[in-house]
Symmetry: C2
Subunit: 496 residues, 2 copies
């Protein structure tokens, strides 16, 4: 099989001996200028490496700059301490092991929790601002510029009995935040991009990676990319860092690995086409948890906490006051993507009187009914299904308890007529969590268990910290944390 050296329509590696000229060269080449890439570039440059970032779009940011901005940090960060929350790395690890499982990379969880305070300080030193203010209400994000929030169900069943609850969703502060304008993720990326600009780091925009270049020993020594369709060769003397994001927008990969997410990508960008994963797979890279996904549900957490969520059979299935991403996963993956929210008039009014960072999740009820029986019929549920669910809920709510699912007493109250019903069937979207398997130095692992020489990865093209559960801030968290590791390790690779 003779190969055209510069084909760009395959993900097979290109042999270095077919490259006659290098268009660009650096010690460390970072593919992707989102959260993982920016952190890798900073650390590689600070370690003395000449760094080049290749970015497919016309500017920095990636999905991170559009995200809410949660960075999942804990173990006693200065922000946690200032706001009066006790936490330890062990406590954080106990929570994450339970919340992100089953199948978590335990070494990575321990490592991440142990390094979390240092990582917080590093972000602050880079200029990322966190306001000493806590938002304690149910929600997807804080509605103002609060810096800290529960973002994974830490204080809800079943986790509040597994680890001492502590909020760990750290959100960069926007000056003069206006809803709908720039996000917390922008204020995470902006100071980091400014840090890159302050260092001797080159960036090539509008440059899309196509193939890895390997030498005769299968060590990664560069990339073939295209700039406005024109192939360019990029030499990486010490290493390549893949930071190209998830595969949420690659329909073939979705069909092969996580078809339940098919047609509903969310919180991802079109550039998330899995290219980093596929290039590494072509070198024999191991994968992990390719079916795992973050799942958002387009319901208002303030309403959900005060109401009752039932599945397509009229049965409750998740404590309504937990992290809404957990509700999303339970709905899509365990309940056929069918959810109805039932809430009575006083609770609905109370919920609507609260502030929300996601007011677009507040829409009129699908049904208004004078009785549960009427609502049951409107929802198309068999007789005595919703009615018995609500009756049982109400019976225990009289005592302020929820023995079925453990919703906290503060949100438990009997539901009375008139009622509103929200049809949330199909109201989910998400992004992929599976990807390359990496070690604690962000080296991409071969299926043999050994690292692939010259190849590093971080962010959502890796499985990272996540297995099957999710917490908001895990992606910007492990992307930034292991992005830094990738940059350091790649920079050191040439100097061993």
């Amino acid at each position: 099989m003779t190969e055209q050296p510069h084909r760009i329509d395959t993900v097979r590696p290109l042999r270095a001996n077919t490259v006659t000229q290098w268009d660009f060269a650096a010690d460390v080449v970072v593919a992707g200028y989102g959260i993982a890439g920016v952190c890798a570039a900073i650390e590689a440059a600070r370690a003395g490496a000449k760094v080049l970032i290749l970015e497919r779009t016309g500017g920095w940011g990636g999905a991170a700059a559009l995200a809410g901005g949660f960075v999942y940090l804990g173990g006693g960060t200065p922000l946690q301490q200032a706001l009066g929350f006790d936490d330890t790395p062990e406590n954080m690890a106990a929570f994450l092991t339970a919340a992100l499982g089953p199948g978590v990379d335990e070494a990575k969880i321990q490592d991440y929790c142990a390094g979390s305070v240092e990582h917080y300080n590093w972000l602050v030193e880079c200029g990322v601002p966190f306001k000493e203010s806590f938002w304690g209400e149910p929600g997807w994000e804080p509605p103002h510029d609060e810096g800290l929030m529960y973002s994974g169900g830490e204080n809800s069943a079943p986790f509040l009995d597994i680890a001492k609850p502590a909020p760990r969703g750290h959100v960069p502060q926007l000056a003069d935040k206006k809803i709908g304008e720039r996000s917390g993720g922008y204020m995470l990326m902006k100071p980091l991009a400014d840090t890159v600009a302050s260092l001797d780091i080159d960036v090539e925009y509008d440059t899309r990676i196509r193939r890895l270049v390997v030498d005769d020993d299968d060590r990664v020594v560069g990339l073939l990319a295209t700039t406005y369709g024109k192939p360019v060769t990029v030499r990486a003397a010490r290493g390549v860092v893949l930071a190209t994001g998830s595969f949420a927008y690659d329909t073939e990969m979705i069909d092969r690995y996580t078809p339940r997410l098919s047609g509903r990508p969310g919180a991802a960008i079109e550039e998330h086409d899995g290219i980093g994963i596929r290039l590494a797979q072509a070198l024999g890279a191991e994968l992990a948890h390719m079916d795992a996904s973050e799942v958002a549900i387009f319901g208002d957490p303030q309403m959900m906490a005060r109401g009752v969520l039932v599945n397509g059979r009229g049965q409750r299935y998740v404590p309504e006051d937990t992290y809404p991403g957990r509700i999303g996963q339970a709905t899509l993956l365990q309940n056929d993507n069918k959810a109805f929210l039932v809430i009575d008039e006083p609770s609905l009014e109370e919920a609507l009187a609260t502030e929300s960072a996601t007011p677009f999740f507040r829409f009129p009820p699908t049904w208004v009914a004078e009785s549960v029986a009427e609502l049951e019929t409107e929802m198309g549920l068999p007789e005595q299904t919703l009615q018995t669910t609500i009756a049982t809920y109400n019976k225990h709510a009289e005592n302020g308890s929820d023995p079925l699912l453990g919703k906290k007493a503060e949100w438990v109250r009997p539901i009375s007529a008139p009622l509103a019903g929200f049809d949330l069937r199909g109201f989910t979207a998400g992004f992929t969590l599976g990807g390359l398997r990496t070690d604690l130095d962000s080296r991409v692992l071969h299926v043999s268990g050994e690292p692939i020489a010259g190849l590093y990865a971080a962010g959502r093209c890796t499985s990272g910290l996540c297995a099957y559960g999710y917490v908001s801030g895990a992606s910007l968290g492990d992307g930034s944390f292991y992005g830094r590791r990738a940059g350091k390790a790649a920079a050191a690779a040439g100097t061993e």
Copy 2:
């Protein structure tokens, strides 16, 4: 990186130019003497290739010879016709698309259904006996030597409204079958192994594959294996067929790909260590549906159909009269591996009076109670959970209907005291369905989408026909069907 040529502790491919001597040589080398391997060997030999089978254990059979023996076939097989069941390839494809989804390989479903009658005839010509007898009762397998049975919920909700129900579980007949002795799977493998013996096919037992051997163009040209620990090189002039089974017994792969199955392998053999998958991954092979799994539940189908199954919240979640493998999946994957069976005394007695091929699933009730309230308490369920579930079930059962889940009228009857309760929490086991992505000629596909030259695969080391659902007979079905294709394609590869 200089490599020791004959290391056996890595799955990285071995370069052919480091092999100084070939200990064995054939045109087509088949790794694994289970259902996929035996069919590949027969077809390759019949196509004129010199064939060598490498088998890790001391004899033929693999998991197949220990299996119940269902081969999922339809579209109007002679056995279906003789027993009065109408079926067409289109009808079969409609069912399989729904039952095995989401994410099925539609081309493979169409192909398999179109070729199903021919495949049945081929098995019969090889000597596989199917008795013209139908077993119509709920069960995991027929209790006697019946040749045909529903084996995927074809005649249960929701499938009975999606495609015209037809039984497609074809079971080879055992002469003088005694329960606990040889299985239908043995009588599938025995005539096929006899067919191998009648052809000029070599078999090396106690030979375990370790690495693929590739030439300078990355074409697979052989294998490195070990015989009693001693490395042997095996030349494959036309191709290698991987038929090494699932990864159900590789705990690291389970953790990475389908951790919910961790600790509960079932219907698999210890040799199912994923070696075929890993060797191909090292060459850049694409995977599919690695998290998918068959899940058995150790409950008696005759009891389940007559009772009510509830999850750990006391809620019904699956029509109790469906294929028990579907109950197993719903229990493990959607209901936290928690199931209770509730059945009243007359129904239990009736169930126990029926014959079963799995009498070891009949054990005494965990609880006996004089009322649903008492059983609810015994089960540790919150008050009014099981009680309302049974009351609602009974209300509709008075009319012979089950609007919640669509259990067929023949199994719907009100449940009265006294009651028996069976604790089926954690009572599941299963095997993995994910694996290599192959085309209709069983060529192993590279992540680039192109076939890997010289490499073929079939059986449970491939994703095959299956995505997320399962039907009994799918594995022996696609293993035998695409095993044949692999043998044919490999034999033809040297003669293109």
